[in-house]
Point group: C2
Chain length 279, copies 2
């Protein structure tokens, strides 16, 4: 019998301060792989619905307890499916318990502050499940590809990110980070589909094609960013994402495991309410 895939096989090795060049390559991960798929889209969708129901229960418990905070960071190239993942995985989760924060190109006011300023203010509160749709990692990737951040400044930012995430984790935030990993071929197909369907043009900006021309530079920046910021308190996972169904199931499985490991429990009944009759 073939070895069952383990989520941990897709975790980026933890950053080791001594040897900055952790042995890790995105090429070791096949974007077309479907290790968490059953092989049938229908069965996968059933599984996703099942996990969705469990996520909903876990999230209610998180909310009831008002202690822990959970942060899911989603990163990936254009068309890798960040929006689609949020839509599919959180379909059954109570919208009251979910906060989705999209990070776009920084505004002049945001740029007038340090790069973690706008991120910190959006960190999850007690009882909250927060999703970052893009994140502070854009501030590593984009300036690097544009040649505005040299290797030393890049490492410095990675260090600031690690320290920031460690502080969040220490303060009760569970952090899990997913890179939705698609192939260059699959991106071509998805971009072309958007161009060929005029009703989808609003989702498209010609500058998306510029970023594609720098595919290799982005992959290299991703590799370094992931290697230098995957830690035991904020691990990175590489999610094979050429298959949308697989991507959704895998992110859902991962998040469910993270929540289950918190061993969340409802607060005990309040003695003070015992026997009260409402007038």
């Amino acid at each position: 019998m073939a070895k069952q895939p383990e989520l941990d096989d897709f975790r980026v090795p933890y950053f080791d301060n001594g040897k900055k060049k952790t042995k890790f390559s995105l090429n070791d991960f096949d974007p077309g792989a479907k290790p968490f798929s059953t092989g049938s889209k229908d069965t996968d969708r059933d599984r996703l619905a099942e996990i969705g129901a469990q996520l909903e229960m876990q999230q209610e418990c998180l909310h009831a307890q008002q202690k822990r905070r959970v942060l899911l960071v989603l990163q990936g190239m254009d068309t890798s499916g960040k929006d689609g993942t949020i839509r599919a995985v959180f379909h059954d989760v109570d919208p009251l318990g979910l906060r989705i924060v999209p990070f776009k190109a920084p505004t002049p006011v945001e740029l007038a502050h340090d790069f973690l300023w706008r991120v910190h203010s959006q960190a999850p509160a007690a009882g909250e499940l927060t999703i970052f749709n893009r994140s502070h990692y854009e501030d590593l990737l984009v300036p690097t590809v544009r040649g505005e951040l040299d290797a030393q400044a890049f490492e410095q930012r990675c260090c600031h990110i690690r320290q920031f995430e460690e502080m969040l984790a220490y303060s009760g935030t569970t952090i899990v980070k997913c890179m939705l990993h698609i192939s260059k071929d699959e991106q071509r197909v998805r971009l072309q589909a958007r161009i060929d369907d005029p009703s989808k043009h609003w989702k498209f900006d010609v500058s998306d094609l510029e970023a594609r021309k720098q595919w290799d530079a982005y992959q290299s920046a991703y590799r370094d960013a992931l290697a230098m910021t995957s830690t035991d308190y904020a691990p990175w996972y590489v999610i094979p994402a050429d298959s949308k169904t697989h991507r959704n199931v895998m992110v859902a499985e991962l998040l469910l495991r993270v929540l289950q490991e918190l061993k969340l429990e409802y607060p005990p009944p309040k003695e003070s309410l015992k026997g009260i009759r409402v007038e």
Copy 2:
């Protein structure tokens, strides 16, 4: 054939600056009425799913257009079902297009500002559908019941709210406000159910019972607040809410109508994308 109910029959008359005591009484609305129910819970749920699908389409269009902003304000006594309404009505709406803002008792920092400060910063952006779960109206109701806001100060706050909402509307925000109207009896049943089920104690605070003791004062404050702040740019609706299914259907119908009246359209295809082949 009986007259079909009209949403406008449940709209609070617009505030008329000349005669502050608009002819309007909450007693004219039966919390137990189900004017938008078909009489069958199953059919109502089907209808809700149908509206949900339409809301999803409207919301995508709102997001694609990135012009209009929509704000739904939900108010109501404890247990009136603000959370439940959000859960049921927005079940099918893309979580990416929805922002839910809960307003709790103001913090010291918030209290150090004017009462609209924390509200303004949460107003919807272009393309956003934002729901206020409680709102700036708490700052009329609570201090009034506590005797901290006299009639003149109350009127002044109402005036500030009208001017604030008018400015939002002028800037492209469509505002609709719902008061979930339950009876005192129904609240007793719901509070008792929470007390009798220890697993629900986390939802309950003994102070909820104090607010209930001031039921009449709250109803009176609600009456005045609604009468003085229902305007053509930000109308109030009274939603009979003793029946949860009816409440959900009615809020969904109302919001759908509001969105339909905006006549949202997808942006036109971009000529610049025509014929592009992705390399």
